[in-house]
Chain length 260, copies 2
């Protein structure tokens, strides 16, 4: 196999652009995953891997995984260690990087079934929070996630990593707004998560099914029109300091109560 | 007020060392907090502020907060914007930084009372996770946190920031090992959080009081001797992918079930 050792190679250039630019990811319908475990995870999740890059060192160190991914991917390249480190997002890259085709996973949303329980995210901004939330949603068996189109990019490298591969498997759909989504899906019982002593406590809420719970932005919570579009308001009762849960923790506790 | 504009000033040198070195924090009994909100929070929490630094810009922009902190702190300095940016940990510093005396907050652990519910952290390594866990513990009114001495430093700038100031208020104690702590506190009903289908489900556990729940390392979970020292094993039942919760989320769901 030829070893790529120039940053000017068009495949490498494309990977670097995909890492840096949400716009390029959107326009090309491609995104990247970095790390041995997550690349293997992409393959096992039957993600459509367009290009697989491995550093010289990693191709030798993870020879078995390298061989599997080389066969599975449409294109595969070995890259000099120096160039590989320059194209990666992480501080200590493990030497595997895949360019993956974004799939339309909105199928699960076409026909809503009894038993379905969705999460809606309204203007969530932090990629670490989004990654953690997707990971939790998958672990707790949430049916799918609806994101408002002003959320951070679900295909950013940080989200892909933080989600531990949930992004390859969990059904999700991006909607212009959560309010619009709710208005066109009135068969869902909808719950707005707010910080308010007058809202229903999640400990006393029996989540109907099919249903959807909306969680908002880290600093500002849900948009007003999202709250209005929901049939119920719910809140996490706190005996200590109120308004003091991290967004990913709040979403996780709500999903926990919804799913258990 | 004189404006410090040299990195060689001994106060500035000390702050930089405190930011970088856990050893220096431990030996001096001092740590730092960065940001307007968190410095104000330290003051409102009656933390013992040894030195307060503000950048020229921030002293003007947050004149009211600057004045309060200047009066409250033992020493206060205005620092040129250029030098301030060099001493800060965050990418876009807000221009406030405090050097704070670490307090002995182990008092709450001397006499354990009915109603007390503690969290034990065994070799937790990620400062973001620790910050988030402390924040959640405070919000949910956990009595206090016991940390094994191989956890990451609770006074690292990332933990202080991520905890949203909980580190100023939440009682905690560092113990040589969680097993040792449990063995010398047999009055506590103790629960080891594990990933195991044979452990008691947290949904079916009625947490006794006083009690303590032990949560382990991000990759490896609890140490064997910690599990052995606990009276019960508990687990988070997951219908989706098991072993796939982020450590801070797992700890938060467990605290939620323990406290609600």
């Amino acid at each position: 196999m030829t070893i790529l050792s120039s940053k000017d190679n068009s495949n490498i250039k494309n990977a670097v652009r995909l890492r840096k630019s949400a716009k390029h990811r959107r326009e090309s319908g491609l995104f990247i995953a970095e790390g041995v475990r997550i690349c293997i995870d992409a393959m096992l999740s039957k993600a459509d891997i367009d290009t697989f890059f491995a550093s010289e060192k990693a191709a030798a160190k993870y020879a078995y995984e390298f061989e599997q991914l080389r066969k599975y991917s449409a294109k595969a390249f070995v890259v000099s260690d120096k160039i590989f480190n320059q194209i990666c997002d992480t501080e200590s890259p493990q030497g595997f990087l895949c360019v993956i085709k974004a799939l339309d996973k909105s199928g699960s949303f076409d026909k809503i079934k009894t038993g379905d329980k969705f999460l809606a995210l309204d203007n969530l901004q932090d990629p670490s929070n989004l990654g953690t939330i997707l990971r939790t949603a998958e672990a707790l068996n949430v049916t799918g996630v609806v994101l408002s189109d002003d959320c951070c990019d679900i295909y950013s490298p940080k989200v892909v990593r933080g989600s531990m591969g949930a992004v390859f498997r969990l059904p999700f759909v991006v909607s212009t707004s959560i309010a619009e989504y709710l208005n066109t899906h009135s068969e869902l019982e909808s719950y707005a998560a707010v910080v308010s002593s007058s809202a229903d406590k999640i400990t006393e809420t029996s989540f109907a099914s099919p249903c959807i719970v909306a969680v908002g932005n880290e600093g500002n919570g849900l948009k007003e029109d999202t709250i209005s579009a929901c049939k119920h308001k719910i809140t996490i009762p706190m005996t200590g300091r109120a308004e003091s849960l991290n967004a990913a923790v709040a979403a996780s506790i709500i999903m926990w109560e919804m799913m258990k």
